[in-house]
Symmetry: C2
Subunit: 221 residues, 2 copies
Amino acid sequence: MAKLYHVPLSPFCRKVRLSLAEKKIECELIEEKYWEKDPDFLRRNPAAKVPVLKIDGRTMAESAAICEYLEEKYPAPPLMPRSLDARYEVRRLVGWFDDKFHNEVTSKLLYERVNKKVTKQGFPDSGNVKAGAKAIKYHLDYMAWLLDHRRWLAGDTMTLADFAAAAHLSSLDYIRDVDWNRSAVVKDWYAKIKSRPAFRSILADQVPGFPQPPHYADLDF
Amino acid sequence: MAKLYHVPLSPFCRKVRLSLAEKKIECELIEEKYWEKDPDFLRRNPAAKVPVLKIDGRTMAESAAICEYLEEKYPAPPLMPRSLDARYEVRRLVGWFDDKFHNEVTSKLLYERVNKKVTKQGFPDSGNVKAGAKAIKYHLDYMAWLLDHRRWLAGDTMTLADFAAAAHLSSLDYIRDVDWNRSAVVKDWYAKIKSRPAFRSILADQVPGFPQPPHYADLDF
């Protein structure tokens, strides 16, 4: 069986977990305290990051490379559309969330509030938290603008772009940092994705020291 | 003709320029002072980043998404191998350079020394410069370890992984931040890639206030 070394609230791990689950690839989840730099873990991934996936006799790192591999090796159900233009749009949005959203929002809210405490690196920087709380509004509005024209973020089918976005937002939702009242279309989109069987393991996550808020796993949030 | 909005020393732009040139796609280069947030530019790319490529009637952003698009639309000559394992390895290494190397080296040397001056954001932070100068050694050693086993970074053919790495290293070489004496195999690899016709435009780059050092464009450096 495949093994995924992960941490529960990492959006990069969650994107891979969603891809695996959607494609019904059974996978054992192993929590990895990557910041402790255990030598065995560094052998698995010299970049010292999660996710690390053991599958098909290989050990893989880098969530974008892993998701493209899973798509090529296990194409059903597809998380990438067929047309080149649509594939570009999916990858652009994955980049948007994993780079821009990550830098402007996730690293400023989740990493300040949770990762710093878990890895014993001190207290949240209030300037960063403020900047993240401001930036997420702009990103939710951008998603709303996309979803006004489309059923899913990258077009009319659910793709890896939706999983990338949902991975970040679900981790932020765990720490109550998403205002779902800001946009009805974004809330509807999240309700749709949240109700998929692939999302169940993510809704069951528990992080010691950070109790799960009641609305987090509620499909009618 | 295609148009690329870029800045000369951006490794993300250079990776796209190398892909375009290797595939012999003619492209007009337009320097874009993205930090001035010109409204026309923001319309082209709401992420306010370069590169932005106008091609095939579309305007595209995110260098990883652009390069995958170019590969799918203009497959010759290929910059991605055929086998799934090899494709994974290319994407893993592109991620390694564009994420890890970028954060640990490029942002700490190039952005401190050049981007801060060009965008009038003050002086280089000496702690960052020191950290970047230390980290690049580790990365060069990692490349040497890969190249001890392989002709090119991801395997026996030249791929997008080589272009991603060469894009970062060439920009750092412009500001004399690469010690080519550290590893003979890395130097040989760079000599091979530097002598390709696709590299010519990069070797001709000039940045006002930062004169090109003599070894930079010398194929026998």
